[in-house]
Amino acid sequence: MEFKDYYKVMGVPRDATEAQIKQAYRKLARKYHPDVSKEKNAEARFKEVGEAYEVLKSPEKRAAYDQLGQGPRPGEDFRPPPDWGSGFEFSGAGPGAGKADYSDFFESLFGAGGRRTQRGFNNGRGEDHHAKVLLDLEASLQGGSRTFTLRLPEIDAQGHLVSNERVLNVQVPKGILPGQTIRLAGQGSSAGPAGTAGDLFIEVEFQPHPVYRVDGRDLYLDLPVAPWEAALGATVKIPTPGGPVDLKIPPGSHAGTKLRLKGRGIPASIPGDLYVVLQIALPAAADEKAKAAYRAMADALPFNPRASLGV
């Protein structure tokens, strides 16, 4: 079992005061809270910090933990000493609801006691489950089934928290947006024989798409065009969710010009739009011929791109 250095996790010295520990916890909790944080591994870090605080904020647990010393040497396996916990009374409830995911290290020392037990069948109804998935944009554009692997913490018959992997094949509703929730009726915990099962709620976010960006129901596409296509106008082939189409670029377009293709965004009763944002791509002046063309343009066009800077 891996030894956890709770002082290191919290970034406080071993002789830190209660106030220092609380302060460190508040700061780290704000930094890594999964609803707030954009840090990588925010959720894992948040749990780790919560676990460290659970031990260090309680004088009894902290005193018991301190007796373990600095833990085994790196790479060495940790085992609680045989007389572990004698003489200490761990008062107060253990993990609070929703914070029940503690490490093996924590459980071997402080037990899983106080853990949220299975609530009784509320009005004959099983518990609802909540999960999060990353979905590809295509699933929303076309609908279709996707396989989700969900980690669902559950309390087994002995009262232990176990993390069950559950593979679900789900018909994704067409037009779902990031931030929305898919409900699967009856896929939560089962109730008694007479009751109804709870529901499964799946919060959806999108994976970044290689071509489109998503803003509500609208899609954005960056379209590189040649300088002459922007200046003179052109008809170019572009990808859309429904397949390639010809897009007319009006003469006199410039970088950042936004062209709207109505109704070609994410489907709905009023579907979103597809916005094409022009980017000017310059051909490389790789050979003498290309250089000559650029020189000819410089001679022919009285053009100061820095006019707006007053120089």
Binding site: L168, Q171, V172, F201, E203
Partner: protein
């Protein structure tokens, strides 16, 4: 429950079809109904409809209420603080999106 085709579970977009009562929302969040009322009074949740049975919320209120609940419990902030945090988070999200869209 299962469709014959591909054996896939039919998912529905909860945010759009659901019209939740205070009791349903409080059950889904596993909180007392007074907490939902407090969230409304603080302006965290908005009532989309009022019918004979009382307030109705859209399905999107579930996620918002659960986020509020987590923030309040984990960071020990009070309700006005939660409301402020949620507003700032939304603003941040919108700014990040705009940055990504390069407008």
């Amino acid at each position: 429950m299962r469709t014959a085709r591909e054996d896939a579970l039919p998912g529905v977009i909860f945010d759009e079809y659901a019209k939740l009562s205070v009791d349903e929302l409080s059950r889904l969040c596993a909180v007392d109904r007074t907490y939902i009322v407090e969230l409304v009074e603080e302006g965290v949740l908005s009532v989309v409809e009022v019918d004979a049975a009382g307030w109705r919320f859209s399905g999107a209120a579930l996620r918002r209420a659960r986020t509020a609940l987590r923030l309040q419990r984990d960071l020990e902030i009070n309700l006005p603080g939660v409301a402020l945090a949620l507003e700032l988070l939304e603003e941040l999200e919108a700014l990040r999106r705009e940055l990504k869209l390069g407008r």
